[in-house]
Amino acid sequence: MTPKMQLVPDDPHVSWAPERSEKAGVAASVRGISKRFKKASVLEDVSFEVAEGESLVLLGASGSGKTTILRIIAGLEQPDTGRVILHGKDVTDLPARERGVGVIFQAYALFPRMTVEKNIAYGLKIRHRPRKERRETVNRLIDLVQLEKHRKKYPWQLSGGQQQRVAIARTLAYKPQVLLFDEPFGALDAQTRVHLRREIRALLRKVKVPSVFITHDQEEALELGDRIAVLNDGHLEQVGTPDEVYNHPATEYVATFLGAANLLLGVVTRGCVEIGTARLPAETETKKFREGQSVKLVFRPEDVCVSPDAKLPEGCRRLANGVIEQIDFVGAYERLNVRLDLAHRPQSGELAPLYQVTINTPERMVGVPVMATRPKPEAHATRYKPGDRVAVGLTSFSLLPNYTLARQR
């Protein structure tokens, strides 16, 4: 299929959301869900809410239990404990067919013996709606998902993206309480993925049906979700907007699962974070920590700024000095591996900001490696070669408590 931007036609009169009062409330809520399969615990006390019209992404590695949550909301699986509430109604004990949720399965699960039209009309047919209503609904939906040319085709004659649009239209026909997408782009190639998820995002804004996506792809999560719920090994690590989970990860897992992250251990000392001999001023970030508390300093490669002299840009807090170890060009940006010298003891009175870094010696392994990325213009303006000494600063970072016992979180 040709990747072209398809905009959904504007039609403010048709809403595919279920008919109910317009107040922005909670569309779906999952409360204290736990589930075990045989002896293995799959979900532990998972709770979250999806607001009306919102799209929430459940992000987690395979085996984190995200599909099980989806199946529990859909009614295809029973939770051991906890409740599922859709638009204020407890549906935990209702079978799948009485819940009115729309599931877009990973392989779309279109009925192979039915044409596009018949697939879309299925929900109304089994509800014994009059023929005229069925035809009108199918026409409007085919228009909405732009499959006019394909309405008489069978699923196997359609591309992956087209099949997915049929699957969405098939659920919209009966005005679902909530749409559930199970790894919606798993079966598609990289280019189609990007194109399709923009299309779906536009479609969802149009139809205003609350949605839950499941994915292991962090890029997809950031783009699709109004909010992201990060799931790790059956429990929720953090729920928040893409900005919150990316820039202010609540746990080390979130920090490392969403994109690359550097991690340094430090101690809170008088409004600073002390990492080895380096002192990073962090007046606001250290507020929630005790003096002397052990913390993890988490920052993204793009938050690192390096400078050949001591002059770091405005808003960039100085961390330490380091040596460029490796330079990789990775397409859109340049990646630098820098070894930080965190063992240097400044002599009293020494003010030279770019002191001699001693890690470029046989004992250089004492230097702590961090990863930095620079956009192309910057990479062109100042070129580095391995072995260059640089000053390293951070534009933004977050601090996490460093518990010695894993269970303390």
């Binding site: 295809l76 599931v103 089994i126």
Partner: protein, 280 residues
């Protein structure tokens, strides 16, 4: 389907004509010639003789009886096979594998044993027959006995074709149907059954072909009474014993042609029957 073979040599490949020739050479005396002789001898006295032996009342009756009993056995076994396949692929229960083995067992039992077993159960001195006979219910030596025998020997055929399709069928189709709001019955009727179309048709054809040709069990339970319980294969056997080779031969031709047609349909309709497999 495009047929391709790995090429081992350049130019003309001698292995091709030789291997095809050897295969046909082996099949000739074993399969082709016996089949051919039915047609040669059946029509050797002219088409008139062939036609008159075919239209003899006894022959017509035998053919009709065979078709009717095979038809009802097929109907029963397809419906039951469908049901059994559904139950055995959807529900797990204690002894499930034992049931699967038992259903498939009649394939391996000699048909004479099958007929004998039926006699022991339903016959005048059989376990059930002893109770039913005084009530005037006589099952053995009637067309019902032939249907029972056909059901017994063709029992696993439809089940064996339908069950694998159930097993490999993607559950998400049925789950999708359920989340859309369909009842279990609606899902079965609109989603599951259409996907089984091919398996049901081939299961039915196999069952019917096997039932029409059934001999060993039928001869024991039917009584082999001309114009009452004599099926086509029994008619061939009876006429051959009486020395009426032409009469036997005419029916033999009909039965051979029938199986030929059924298996041609099975073979050439394979694309259509496997329609659902390509999309799975």
């Amino acid at each position: 389907m495009k047929i391709t073979a790995v090429r081992h040599v350049r130019g003309y490949d001698v292995a091709r004509p030789v291997s095809i020739g050897v295969m046909l050479g082996i099949m000739l005396p074993l399969v082709f010639l016996p089949l051919l002789s039915i047609f040669i001898y059946g029509t050797s006295k002219g088409l008139g003789a062939f036609w008159s032996s075919l239209t003899a009342p006894e022959a017509i009756f035998a053919l009709k009886l065979s078709m009717a009993t095979s038809f009802w056995a097929t109907v029963f076994n397809v419906l039951f096979g469908l049901f059994a396949a559904y139950v055995l692929s959807r529900y797990d229960f204690w002894g499930r594998n034992a049931v699967i083995v038992t259903i498939s067992l009649p394939t391996a039992i000699p048909t004479a044993v099958a007929g004998f077993a039926l006699l022991l159960l339903w016959g005048p001195y059989g376990t059930l027959g002893r109770m039913l006979n005084p009530q005037g219910v006589q099952v053995m030596f009637t067309p019902y006995a032939i249907i029972l025998a056909n059901i017994f020997v063709t029992f696993p055929l439809a089940f064996g074709v339908i069950k694998p399709v159930f097993d490999t069928m993607s559950r998400s189709l049925e789950e999708a149907s359920a989340t859309i709001g369909a009842t279990r019955w609606q899902t079965f009727w609109h989603v599951t059954l259409p996907s089984l179309r091919g398996a049901i048709v081939s299961g039915a054809l196999l069952t019917f072909a096997r039932a029409v040709g059934e001999f060993g069990s039928t001869i024991l339970v039917s009584g082999n009474l001309a114009l009452r319980t004599q099926t086509a294969p029994l008619y061939i056997f009876a006429k051959f014993n009486e020395g009426q080779i032409e009469a036997a031969n005419a029916i033999a031709i009909v039965l051979a042609l029938l199986s030929f047609v059924i298996f041609s349909v099975l073979f050439f309709a394979r694309d259509w029957l496997e329609f659902e497999a390509q999309e799975a």
